[in-house]
Amino acid sequence: MLEWLRFILTAGLLISGLIILITAVIGVYKFDYVLNRMHAAAMGDTLGLLFCLLGLTVSAPDLATALKLLLIICFLWVASPVSSHLIARLEVTINPRWQQLPPTPGKDEKEEEDSP
């Protein structure tokens, strides 16, 4: 009975994490500018990863595996804001028209496509 309870907890956490990841991918497709897309992507990187790996931690076979999974969560929560900051700074540096709202999709950014 307790094993089934653990399975139900794992399934619930894993499925909520997958729903959040699906939402992140839909958001990446819906938005049409990088600094908007980054918002959706960061949600999948933090909350989706937290739910999925917590679900795996609940049903881990031994203690070392569970602790390693928790360590991955801690590391990615430190690393993800840093990489988001770097990507945003790259976009602001490269694109001189980043403040224009709405950003003109296609016409302006086509020139800088693949340029470096």
């Binding site: 076979p61 590391f75 990615l76 490269i94």
Partner: protein, 105 residues
């Protein structure tokens, strides 16, 4: 349905969903108009593959695969940092070169 079968069905279903999401992110990385778009997509692919490695580790019952996931997280973060630094360095160098040519002309 026994518990073992239930775990297998759950893990394989989650893996299938993650494969579809990874392919969608890959298409986004190919289509993305600017460089920052591509780097964002690559970052998302890294996260999803991290979860897939964790799922496979529990599916085949080998705990050491989580070590692989930890190293993968380190390398994916390093890749994003290096790509951003390289593209920014190339852009700044090119701009400095253009300004120098304008100054000379």
């Amino acid at each position: 349905m026994s518990l073992h079968n239930a775990y297998s069905v759950l893990y394989i279903g989650a893996l299938s969903v993650l494969v579809v999401l990874t392919i969608l992110c890959f298409i986004r990385a190919i289509k993305g108009p600017s460089i920052a778009d591509r780097i964002v997509s690559i970052n998302m692919i890294g996260t999803q593959i991290l979860i897939m490695i964790g799922l496979v580790a529990l599916l085949i019952g080998e705990g050491y695969l989580t070590d692989v996931a930890l190293i993968y997280a380190l390398i994916s973060f390093l890749a994003v940092v290096v790509l951003c630094k390289v593209y920014m360095g190339v852009f700044l160098e090119r701009r400095a070169q253009e300004q120098e040519e304008q100054h000379n002309a």
